[in-house]
């Protein structure tokens, strides 16, 4: 039996196809959090992530008749949000490098270039709890990854998707997903060591 056959969203999707906007609203409520978190961890910006999620849902609604139920509806939705995030990042160009300069030491990217670190969003480092500071550093390290490594890391280690679903979401072979994930983790490991002294 296919994955789509077990899709808990199936009844609501059928209603949406028949023009029921309330059904779509139910789907938005069900999936918005996960979609927001994917976009947020890939962009590092909550505001941008909210915009991306809105665009993704509008696009999904427009194209819902094209959803062929080969995968679960949620996988289809997450593919849309990943694609919207990619488009957003393309427009924004090197997001991690265009922000304000902080007092921290610059960290070299994989390619050897110097990325200027984003300034902390917190009002004062002294006021920040240690845990939040660590999380901000982890996010910084994620932001420094190239897009193709970042999306794999976010989907696997942040969102907990299985390798198979990531392959389907990104249209990549399982081997490619794994090798990108290894490189992404290795880069984050090095980055955290630099920023925090240890991962």
């Amino acid at each position: 039996m296919t994955e789509a056959a077990h899709d808990e969203d199936g009844p609501l999707v059928s209603l949406c196809r028949n023009g029921d906007t309330d059904a779509f609203e139910a789907l938005v409520k069900r999936h918005q959090k996960k979609m927001l978190n994917i976009a947020y961890r890939m962009t590092g910006s909550y505001e941008d992530a909210c915009e991306i999620v809105q665009d993704a849902f509008v696009s999904a609604h427009k194209n819902i008749t094209r959803f062929e139920e080969r995968s679960r509806f949620s996988t289809w939705l997450y593919t849309i949000v990943v694609n919207q995030t990619r488009n957003h990042l393309k427009k924004a160009e090197t997001v991690a490098c265009r922000r304000e300069v902080s007092l921290d030491d610059p960290v070299r990217s994989e390619e050897g270039g110097v990325c200027l670190e984003p300034a902390s969003k917190e009002p004062s480092v002294l006021d920040t709890l240690e845990q939040r500071e660590v999380q901000a550093r982890v996010q910084q390290c994620i932001n420094r990854l190239d897009e193709e490594f970042r999306e794999v890391l976010v989907l696997r280690d942040v969102q907990g998707f299985g390798y198979e679903e990531i392959s389907s979401l990104l249209g990549l072979a399982a081997g490619t997903v794994k090798s990108r994930l290894f490189r992404a983790r290795e880069s984050v490991r090095k980055c955290l060591k630099k920023l925090l002294g240890s991962p």
Partner: protein, 347 residues
């Protein structure tokens, strides 16, 4: 095994995805290599740091903003009549305009056909009415005529239902027991979807359909499922059967029959048949409440006469959905195939 190879295998190893052979190789190497043990610790800490990132909550306005954008881009999507008459109604509330046009056209058509109906159908004790052939000219020059012609072209024979809706007052029995009682567990909608239905006033009766349809389009809390309940007629008696000529070369005809009525004469159970070459097949069964909202199980049948979709409505709102595969077994998911009662043009 060297360190580089071991480190590649460590990702699978610490996630518990290694094969038994790989696991043995990794553990043998780790036992003798302090660098790789440190690497493994670092890797675990890195992944834990990433996994430990807090989830962010969506802002309270996010759903509203998404839905506002969707409704803005498709203000009347889902309302069949509105879609049919969208172009005609520039500047006029779409559903109201559509209903008025249909009513005017129905009266004109009924009056023009009455003599023939009386001659041909009354002796049989039933009323039946033929829809005009597809090519038949409508009232030329009038908005009602042009709109009705557009509808005729777009939806073929099924338009006869709207033109000559049944509506005799008789003391028909209430609906037969719903078939879902003995059927497998259907896919019930989530509470978040159902909530909108509770407390929502039922749609107005047939006479007030225009205002009802308009309100439906405007109010985000109400269902947008198009209500296409047959309307009550002003004359005639007994169980009314409608016959609609397809006008198709294959000789397909569609017949929509009100099989049960509410005490006030409004249709309760309406069955649509497809006839070709002397063979008549039931293709759809619809149920309505006295206000004209879908209520009870709506069923779509396949060519073999087996139901392929059953959707239960509760006063216009979908309650549960059940679909069947080609073998008649309940599907786990849904087929994505449009339900015929919402898309009469499919017949």
């Amino acid at each position: 095994m060297d360190c580089e190879k071991t480190r590649r295998l460590l990702h699978d190893y610490f996630e518990g995805l290694s094969s038994a052979g790989e696991k043995t190789l990794v553990e043998e190497h780790l036992a003798s290599c302090a660098d790789c043990r440190r690497f493994l610790e670092d890797l675990q800490r890195t992944v834990l740091s990433v996994k430990g990132l807090d989830e962010v909550e969506p802002p309270a306005w996010l759903t509203q903003k998404v839905m506002a954008r969707i409704r803005e881009e498709q203000p009347v999507r889902g309302h069949l009549l509105s879609r049919l008459f969208g172009r005609f109604s520039a500047g006029i509330p779409v559903a109201a305009a559509a209903t008025v046009v249909i009513a005017v056209f129905a009266v004109v058509l009924m009056r023009s056909m009455q003599p023939e109906i009386g001659r041909r159908m009354r002796p049989a004790g039933e009323e039946a009415q033929q829809a005009p052939p597809r090519e038949a000219p409508a009232v030329t020059g009038s908005p009602a005529g042009s709109a009705a012609r557009r509808k005729t072209e777009a939806h073929g024979e099924i338009k006869g239902r709207d033109v000559s809706a049944p509506g005799q007052k008789d003391a028909a029995e209430k609906a037969a027991p719903d078939r879902q009682e003995s059927a497998p567990e259907p896919q019930r909608l989530s509470e978040s979807h159902e909530r909108a239905g509770s407390g929502v006033a039922p749609a107005p009766p047939a006479a007030g359909k225009a205002a009802g349809a308009l309100r439906q389009a405007e109010m985000p809390g109400e269902t947008s499922a198009p209500a296409v309940a047959p309307r009550a007629d002003s004359e005639g008696s007994g169980v009314r059967k409608k016959e609609m000529k397809a006008g198709r070369p294959e000789g397909l005809t569609y017949e929509r029959s009100v099989e049960q009525r509410h005490a006030d004469g409004s249709p309760e159970t309406v069955v649509t048949y497809e006839a070709s070459g002397g063979v008549r097949k039931k293709i759809m069964e619809e149920r309505f409440d006295a206000q004209g909202n879908r209520h009870g199980v709506q069923t779509a049948y396949d060519p073999a006469g087996r139901p392929w979709a059953e959707v239960r409505y509760e006063h216009g709102r979908v309650d549960w959905i059940r679909e069947y595969d080609a073998g008649g077994r309940p599907r786990q998911g849904t087929s994505g195939r449009p339900w015929p009662w919402l898309h009469p043009g499919l017949h």
